[in-house]
Each structure stands twice: as C-alpha cells, then as structure tokens.
C-alpha cells in the first residue's frame, strides 16, 4: 500500500506538492486527478524516490522506496512514454530491466506478449510509434509481476483503440487483486475506470473518496422546460411546489424533477412546451468546479474571473481526444 504523509515538494518559489496526505487503497483502481501542473507527476516521482521530498514522506508497504530490494517486484511504474534508448531493441530494454532485479528471463517474453509487442521484440525503439512506446513502458511496469502498478497519464496521445486497451488492462489488473494508481486530467476517463478517486489542485488534496460517492455527490439531474408562456409555467411549478432554476435561452430547469410527471403537469394545465428534456450535469463539470480555483492557466479570460464558468484549457481542450462523454464538451460550449 502506498501511503503519503504531508508530502511536500518545492521548486524554487513554486510549491509543486503541498502537504499531501492520502493512502492508495489496495486491490482497486485509484484515479489520481488534477489539472495540468497540479503536481501529479511530481508526486509519482517522489513515490519512486526519483525526486526527493522537501518535507513529509511516502512509504510503500511501510518502507521507503530506496529500502526496497528489487523494487520492480513490488511496484511497476510507467512515468513517461518512450523512456527507452532509441537504439536498443524492445526485448533488450526489458532484458536489462529484468536482470537488474533478478527477474527470470522468460518474464521478458511474457511481458512482451502481454502488451502485444512480440512481433517487434527485436526492433529498435527508434521506430516505435507513441502507442508502441506506451506499450513497452507498460511491459516494463508489469515485468516484475508487481502488487502495485502506477501509470502517469497512460492514455495521453493514444488512439481510441489504445485508450480502450489500457482501460481494460487496468480493470483486469485490479480484478487480479493488484493496486492500480493512475493519473489523469480527464474526469470522464476516470469515471469509467476508477473505483476510487484522489483529486489534487496546485499540489493540495481536494478530494479523496470512492468513485460512487463522488458520482452521488456531484451528479445533478434536472429536467429542462422551454415554453412561450413562461408566467403560466412558473405559476404551475410554484403551485406544485417544484424548485426550478433558470436554464439557457430562457428555459427553466427543474432539479430532480421527473420527466413524465412534468409533461403530464404541463398538459393538465394547458401550458405549451417547446422543449422537455432530461439534463445530466457531467462529472467533468463537477471536477472542473472543484479544481477551478487551482487551475494554473485559464483560456481566454483573465485569471480568476468566474473560474467555474470559464473552461480551463486542460479540460475543454483535451476533451476531444477522449471518446467518452462527448456531450459534456458540447454542453460546456453552451454555458
């Protein structure tokens, strides 16, 4: 189990990680979420003892990473794509890694097969695509058959097929009882893979809770109604004791309302409706709201101005790379 206690990292005047404390639960996929520059990669590097903390500590099964002998057998990590010598073959890359931790050589071929790189095992990494580099990185992480795996933005730059493959791999690893710790800046991606969620912004912990809990707390459903007779509609709603909020383009949204019941209500009172539609606030929006104050760079508008409404570059921009929840992006533009 990975445990962080007041973990802090300062680079000159920037606090990359600010007194971060949490535990990565065992045997499930934990999403490590935060906008660009939140400190996800820095935290992961500190877990591996690559960056030395300015303060606090992080332990794996109660021990510092540097105290693990043959650490690849405990924890396998993918930090950046293509951290391979371009002139070395995929197989040789895994071979030296295996030898350093006394992992049997047959694991090299198993790991290559697991990520589907067997056909290019003896090709030099120079010619690998981003996706192949990513698969080789994942093969290195799985080489020691570790209890814990840690991936830093594994789907970045992958095509939909690659994204799906990684998603299923992570679920499978967790199903085998392994601890999976994966960072992302896409809520939509985490919503479909993670069982647990840790959200950070500007190096600080913003949330640490099970995924269903996050969804329950943050998904808001409403029914949108549009009518040429707004006064009559509002009267009807008031009489029925239903709370409503103004929606876009002069529409109204009844929070928690039932679609059929609202349609019946309007018909019973002879209110003409031009729209009656269910609305689901996306988790992406909830995440953006949560991290709004900690986003480093906003698109367009000056910083700090109605941050929740102004989409940060990190979410709106990247959304198109994800095949999940395209509606969320569309709705973002409307607001």
């Amino acid at each position: 189990m990975i445990e962080l206690h007041d973990l802090t990292k300062r680079h000159g005047r920037t606090l990359a990680v600010d007194r971060l404390s949490f535990r990565v639960p065992q045997g499930v996929v934990t999403g490590f979420l935060g906008p660009n520059g939140a400190g996800k990669s820095t935290t992961m590097r500190m877990i591996l003892d690559l960056d030395r903390p300015t303060g606090g500590r992080v332990t794996i099964d109660g021990r510092r990473y540097g105290q693990l002998s043959e650490p690849l057998k405990y924890i396998g990590a993918l930090l950046e794509a293509k951290a391979v010598h371009p002139g070395r073959t995929a197989r040789d890359h895994l071979l030296w890694l295996a030898q350093s931790n006394r992992i049997p050589e047959r694991r090299v071929d198993e790991a290559l097969a697991l990520v589907g790189l067997t056909p290019v095992a003896r090709k030099r990494a120079r010619g690998f695509s981003l996706g192949m580099g990513q698969r080789l990185g994942i093969a290195s992480a799985l080489l020691g058959d570790p209890e814990i795996v840690m991936f830093d933005e594994p789907v970045n730059g992958l095509d939909p097929e690659g994204i799906l493959w990684i998603r299923n791999l992570m679920k499978r690893l967790a199903a085998e009882g392994r601890t999976v710790f994966v960072s992302s800046h896409l809520m939509s991606e985490m919503a479909v893979t993670a069982d647990h969620l840790v959200v950070i912004g500007r190096g600080r912990l913003l949330a640490d809770l099970p995924m269903p809990e996050f969804i329950k707390r943050n998904s808001r459903s409403a029914v949108r109604m549009r009518t040429p007779q707004p006064e009559r509609l509002l009267d009807v709603l008031a009489v029925a004791g239903l709370r409503h909020e103004p929606g876009p383009d002069g529409s109204y949204e009844v929070v928690g309302g039932d679609l059929a019941a609202l349609g019946d209500l309007a018909a019973a009172h002879g209110v003409v409706l031009h729209e009656l539609s269910p609305q689901q606030a996306s988790l992406e929006e909830a995440f953006m709201q949560m991290t709004a104050d900690s986003v480093e760079y906003h698109a367009g508008d000056g910083p700090g101005r109605d941050a929740a409404g102004a989409p940060g570059t990190w979410a709106a921009g990247r959304q198109q790379h994800s095949n999940a929840q395209p509606a969320a992006a569309a709705r973002q533009e409307e607001n």
Binding site: R45, L48, L50, G66, P71, L72, H85, D92, L95, W96
Partner: protein
C-alpha cells in the same frame, strides 16, 4: 539491497545492446592501430630524413603509439555515451526506479564500463605495438627492452582512465551533448596547447591526459616534471575524483 552481480549483468546488457557505443570502441582500436601503423611505415621508409638534426634517442614505442591522441578521443566519446544516453532519453528514471541505490548503481556502471574499456585498451595497445614494430623493420624495439612493457601497459591504462574520467564528468554534467562539448575541446585543443605555453604549462602538466601520457614514455624527456608512475597517480586521482563527483551529483539531484 539490490544484488551487485545483478547490476553488473544488467549494465553489461545495456552496453552491448546499443550499436553506437560499441562502434566508438571499435573506432578506438582502428584509429590507434591504423595511425600508428601508418606513421611507423613512413618513419621506416624515410628514417634518415626524419631523424636529421634530432639528438634524442629514437623511441620506437611512441612512434607506434602516434595514433593514441585520436584513439583516446573515441574512447572518451564511449565513456560519455555510456553514461550520457541515460540522460538524453529519460532512461535514468527507469534505471533508478529499478535500482534506487544510486551509489551502488554508479559503481556497477563504472566497473562494467572500466572492465570493457580495459580489455579493449589492452588489446589495442599490444596490437598497436606489434604492428608498429613489424613496420619499423630494423628500427623496431621489443617488449624486453627497458620500460617498453610498462609503456605498452601504460597506454592501455591511459585509455581506460580517460574513459572513466569522461564517464564521471558526464555523470556530473548529466547531459551527453554538454559533456562532449566540454571534454572533446579540452582534450583535443586546450590541454595540448596549454601544455606547451610557457608558465601556463606548469598547470597543464597536471591535467589528466598529460599526466597519464607520461606512462607511455620509454626515454626520459628533458625537463619532464615527474616520472611515469607519478603521472599514473595523478591521472588516477583525476579519474576517481570525477567518478566520486558523479556519484555525489547522482545521489543529491532529483532524477
């Protein structure tokens, strides 16, 4: 703690699996043997012309080793690449995640690198010597002559130490382009030039290459600052200092 033999095996796989590093070693051999052979042949064919007005005794050993200044450049590049390619590809983070004991890791790297460089250097030195002597004909010398065997082994140690020195400097600079940009001009231009400039040369005589190359001398030079073994000690001190410096940087800096 990580097993040291495991680190050695893994570092050996790393070195042998990249062509560019192997090529620089091959180049060390080819350049040192080839240039030495060429100069020995020329010297033999034009002996009286070359030796006109020269008072010092003819040194058949150093004639055979005429190519070593270029050969040393290749082995310096080898030392730089072997350490530096970890930094150019972000591989250093993968390496340190596998072996977090940084001092042990660098020691293992230096042992593998040093052993390989030593083997190649010894082979290069002896083949250079015998080829040169074969081509020098009647002007040649033998290993049995005073100091000749020491000079041939000296050449091998010289190449090995410069390789490890460069590896240590690269570990300190953590950047292979920068390391090449510093080491190549230093050894190829700065040090040879400074070692003949009056006054400055007293300082330049303590540079690693000048000191190490004293081991190649068979005859005493006029006004030489120190003997071959003092030269060896100075060169070794530089090499160890560079490696310790590299280890300190590796241990203290974020990867």
């Amino acid at each position: 703690m990580a097993s040291f033999p495991a680190i050695l095996r893994s570092e050996w796989t790393k070195i042998r699996s990249v062509r560019s590093t192997i090529w620089t070693l091959a180049l060390t051999f080819v350049v040192t043997v080839g240039l030495g052979a060429l100069l020995s042949l020329l010297t033999n064919n034009n002996f009286t012309e070359f030796r006109r007005n020269v008072q010092t005794p003819f040194d058949a050993t150093s004639t055979a080793f005429a190519g070593i200044r270029l050969g040393e450049l290749a082995i310096i590049v080898f030392g730089v690449l072997a350490i530096g390619n970890e930094y150019s590809s972000g591989l250093i983070r993968v390496t340190l995640a596998a072996v977090p004991q940084r001092g042990t890791l660098l020691t293992g790297k230096a042992v593998v690198l040093g052993a390989l460089a030593l083997v190649v250097s010894v082979v290069t030195a002896f083949i250079t010597f015998f080829t040169g002597q074969a081509l020098l004909g009647s002007h040649s010398t033998t290993l049995g002559e005073p100091h000749v065997l020491r000079a041939v082994f000296g050449a091998a140690l010289y190449l090995t130490m410069l390789c490890l020195f460069s590896a240590g400097v690269t570990a300190m600079l953590r950047n292979q382009t920068l390391a090449l940009g510093v080491l190549v001009p230093f050894f190829f231009l700065l040090s040879p030039i400074l070692s003949v400039v009056p006054k400055v040369k007293t300082l330049a005589h303590y540079f690693p290459d000048y000191a190490g190359s004293r081991m190649l001398l068979v005859f005493e030079e006029q006004g030489q600052p120190y003997g071959p073994w003092a030269g060896f000690a100075i060169c070794l001190a530089w090499t160890l200092a560079a490696l310790v410096g590299g280890a300190l940087v590796l241990k203290s800096r974020d990867a």
